[in-house]
């Protein structure tokens, strides 16, 4: 049998329950040993508006949301009209014939299933329309009724016993309908209930939270903002369970300065936000650089500028993350690539912050943060945790003798902690000398500027933040960063399979820039193009600025993640006509 690869979309009115169907389907397939990757597209309103959820399922890890649809289920006309164009020629549309008219002129398999009517007349509990829809899908996928029944029982629909019966009934009606109407898509998706402990189903935000806690994060301050709020909400529950403190502050400025205060005492701290919040944090980020205070700031990017498109995805905060500070205030900027990577990159963010005593900005984005993916459970005994450099305990150095900003070989100085070390000092955002005393002399400013700069630049030697893929003798090189890794690599594999000579270089560290790897890649390949979800080519410009080389660009600004197919097409276009 071929590799399993199905992209299934369910679309309806926001609030009607389509999202739940997608979630349960994704979780159920994931628990059955398959790999899934979800993708939602929501309206900005709390209720109402067209909304869709998509599940791509494979038997190996999924890397992108999927291109055209294998199965589209729509609940009403508006959603039929929006989505039908995205169905593959070989794909299937499942629509509710009482709620919408199918366009007969399309050369597609279109199956009418009167979801609304069956629910009303046969099941009689409107709440179970979800389950009916779910059953239609599992039946079409060729999943046996018993397996589907177990899926429902183990899902949120099984949690409240009083509804379980009606839900199982709805499921049964689905199988009856499919059977009676002879619907058969020829699919036989093999499912097997796995003990889930080795595999986790998480969103990027979930994984990021767990990574932060594993790294030792015990203080979080934040302010709600889409799509970063669920970081705070997840931690609101988890943080107290490990003895930490979580504060919902009055705004983002309070969130970051409270985090700085907590870190000053030695706590590992984090705050998460989206673009508008990051803009407000810029001043305090400069403070943390100046005072050399470890701090992790997560920016879940969304469509900008300004309030922009809160529920859409984009990679357009890179400029701000790298350059958003008055004066010379270098910091570390890294990006996560997929759900699993969110866990490990969160750990690394803390390790970098603690090791280099600096703010670290971790870039995620709306799509990465909210899609669910299957990942292997991290083995915590393998995850390395770094603690910040501190003065010796029981040392006899007095505060008068102690240099908080001592010029060491690696530019990193031991940091005493209140309540713990006798070497008290005053951290200040004014320019200062080694002793932390205010000093505006040219000499002090030059020394401390160099200290802050060199320290950060040396982080470029940390392993694992840049990776090359593809052909050695590539004719075209793609450079990507963060969450576009998946679609780029999928497109790479597809085009390599077709015989194209392509390679990719994926960055997870943006600042400091791994220049050596970048230069080697760029110099070894005739055409190199930077692939990113923004308009001006922010990473491309930045690479050019650091390397003084000329790069091609491939940018998309639809508010949606890359499809592997879009990049595949781009590669073919360049190599055929380029």
């Amino acid at each position: 049998m071929d590799q399993l690869d199905l992209t299934i979309r369910i679309a309806g009115e926001n609030g009607e329950g389509v999202l739940t169907v997608g979630d349960v389907l994704a979780e159920a397939l994931a628990r059955s040993g398959l790999h899934i990757y979800t993708f939602k597209n929501l309206p900005a309103e709390i209720k109402g508006g067209a909304s869709m959820t998509q599940v791509r399922v494979q038997d190996t890890p999924v890397r992108s949301p999927g291109d055209a649809l294998d199965i589209l289920m729509v609940w009403n006309q508006e959603n039929y009209d929006i989505h039908v164009g995205e169905v593959k020629p070989t794909g299937v549309v499942i629509y509710d014939p009482d709620e919408c008219d199918a366009d007969e002129s399309l050369a597609l398999t279109q199956i009418g299933v009167p979801l609304q009517t069956i629910t009303k007349t046969v099941i009689k509990t409107m709440k179970s329309k979800n389950v009916l829809a779910f059953g239609i899908l599992t039946a079409c996928l060729g999943i046996p009724f018993d397996s589907a029944k177990q899926m429902v029982s183990e899902s949120r629909w099984g949690r409240r016993k009083e509804f379980l019966e009606s839900n199982i009934n709805a499921l049964k009606q689905a199988y009856v309908y499919v059977d009676e109407n002879g619907i058969d898509l020829g699919l036989r998706v093999a499912v097997e209930r796995k003990n889930g402990h080795a595999q986790l189903i998480m969103t990027g935000n979930d994984a990021l939270c767990m990574g932060a806690l594993a790294a030792g994060c015990r203080y979080y301050a934040g302010y709600p903002i889409t799509p970063a709020s669920d970081v705070m909400e997840t931690l609101a529950k988890a943080m107290p369970r490990v003895g930490g403190v979580l504060m919902q502050t009055e705004d983002e400025i309070a969130a970051i300065t409270a985090s700085i205060g907590a870190s000053f005492t030695g706590a590992k701290v984090m705050t998460a936000t989206a673009g508008p919040g990051l803009s407000l944090m810029v001043e305090a980020l400069g403070l943390a650089t100046m005072e050399e205070i470890p701090l992790v700031v997560v920016d879940v990017q969304r469509g900008g500028p300004s309030t922009g498109m809160p529920t859409k995805t984009e990679q357009s905060d890179l400029n701000l993350a790298i350059h958003g500070a008055h004066g010379e205030a270098p910091r570390i900027v890294i990006a996560a690539t997929n759900t699993e990577d969110c866990f490990y990159t969160a750990v690394k963010a803390f390790n970098l912050a603690e090791k280099y005593q600096t703010p670290v900005i971790l870039l995620s984005d709306q799509h990465l943060s909210q899609r669910a993916q299957v990942m292997s459970r991290p083995d915590l005994s393998e995850v390395e945790i770094v603690e910040r450099k501190q003065p010796e305990l029981n040392g006899s150095v007095t505060p008068e003798e102690f240099d908080r900003y001592e010029m060491t070989d690696d530019y990193i100085s031991p940091m005493p902690l209140p309540g713990r070390h006798g070497q008290h000092y005053v951290a200040t955002g004014l320019e200062h000398d080694e002793h932390a005393h205010i000093d505006y002399s040219p000499e002090a400013h030059i020394r401390m500027t160099e200290k802050r700069h060199q320290k950060i630049e040396s982080a470029v030697n940390e392993p694992g933040f840049v990776q090359r893929y593809g052909a050695e003798d590539a004719q075209l090189g793609l450079i990507g960063w963060g969450s576009s890794e998946g679609p780029i690599l999928e497109a790479l594999d597809r085009t390599l399979a077709k015989g194209y000579k392509v390679a990719a270089l994926i960055f997870k560290m943006l600042h400091p820039l791994p220049e050596k790897e970048a230069r080697a890649f760029i110099e070894s390949i005739p055409v190199v193009s930077v692939v990113e979800l923004n308009a001006s080519g922010q990473f491309a410009n930045y690479l050019q600025g650091r390397l003084a080389v000329s790069l091609q660009r491939f940018n998309i600004i639809t508010g949606l993640p890359f499809k592997a197919g879009e990049i595949e097409e781009y590669i073919e276009g360049v190599l055929q006509y380029g």
Partner: protein, 327 residues
């Protein structure tokens, strides 16, 4: 060098739900003061000589704070003084203790982070009227709402000192400002300040603050006492420390006249009366000194103990256990 271990030991080993975030190792044993000697004001003097103008009221606040610290014999390593930007914001530099001098207006959020991460520390926030009630004004109600055990000393000179004499939120409205001020006319050269004057003491009471007091930098020992009571108060304490700026808005003479203690029989437990008093004294042209209001509510740290009791009971969860929900 930075230390490395693995994540499965990253669990906080904080003893009995101290709420001390992520401090996994014990503190260096406290150095006791010289045998038999209690610490004195001098023990809280740092190497740095104050850079304020001669006659600045902030000298008085500094000395009062140092005295209050000495009376409590606190180990300097357990004291953190947090400030924003302003002449007053320089105070931490002059105290022999930990200091965190942040950006303009953000002393309170930073102080809250310090206290939340290590509730064993004595945390004091200091700053000016501009720092606290102009750019930082949005943080005050929320610091009050959290009722952490922090003492917030606002050094109110009714002017922006460091930036050379612009009006602040507590500058009196209109011509009054002109009469006494050297520099205020720069910003309000025609009719004085057009905006109303905020009554910051009344505001803080209405926010729900559990300790609210006023004191005057020229009344040194009274000020040390008030600050001391603020330090002793379990919860968020607000000290309105009137502290003239002779360089840009010399209010020494009028304030000496208008300061008077609260009535002898003042009931510090009556919030409504405290607000009335604070609102009415403006019209009467007086400043009362003393504790306007005090009541003891549960602090944020206290409440967190209940949260921990529910969240994990006796033993904190492991990260592995947290991840089970995603299996």
């Amino acid at each position: 060098m930075a230390e490395v271990r693995t994540a499965d030991t990253a669990k906080t080993t904080a003893p009995e739900r101290s709420g001390q975030a992520g401090q996994s190792e014990p503190a260096e044993p406290a150095k006791p003061p010289k045998p038999s000697a209690k610490r004195t004001l001098k023990d809280y003097r740092s190497e740095v000589k104050p850079t304020w103008c001669p006659g600045c009221g902030d000298f008085g606040v500094l000395a009062a704070l140092q005295r209050a610290l000495a009376e409590r014999n606190l180990d300097p390593r357990d004291v953190v003084i947090v400030s924003g930007i302003g002449c007053s914001g320089r105070l931490p530099e002059f105290v022999n203790a930990y200091g965190l001098h942040v950006v303009h207006g953000r002393a309170l959020p930073a102080a809250q982070g310090v206290k939340a991460a290590n509730p064993d520390l004595t945390v004091i926030a200091v700053g000016g009227d501009g720092d606290g009630f102009a750019i930082g004004g949005g943080h005050v109600p929320h610091a009050v709402r959290r009722n952490q055990d922090i003492t917030y000393i606002v050094m109110d000179n009714q002017v922006y000192g460091l930036t050379k004499g612009q009006p602040s939120p507590s500058t009196p409205t209109g011509m009054q400002a002109l009469r006494r001020s050297v520099s205020m006319p720069k910003m309000a050269p025609y009719e004085g300040v057009l905006e109303g004057q905020l009554n910051i003491l009344a505001m803080v009471i209405v926010y729900g603050c559990s300790f609210v007091a006023r004191t005057f930098s020229s009344q040194a020992s009274e000020m040390a006492k008030i600050i001391g009571r603020g330090l002793d108060h379990p919860g968020f304490g607000f000290v309105h420390a009137m502290s003239p700026c002779p360089t840009f808005y010399n209010t020494y003479d009028p304030w000496k006249e208008s300061f008077m203690p609260l009535p002898e029989d003042w009931d510090t437990g009556d919030r409504i009366k405290a607000i009335d008093m604070a609102m009415e004294e403006v019209g009467d042209g007086v400043f009362h000194s003393g504790v306007f209001f005090q009541d003891v509510y549960r602090t944020y740290t206290d409440k967190l103990q209940d949260v921990y009791a529910k969240a994990y009971g006796d033993e904190q969860a492991t990260i592995d256990a947290l991840m089970d929900q995603y299996a």
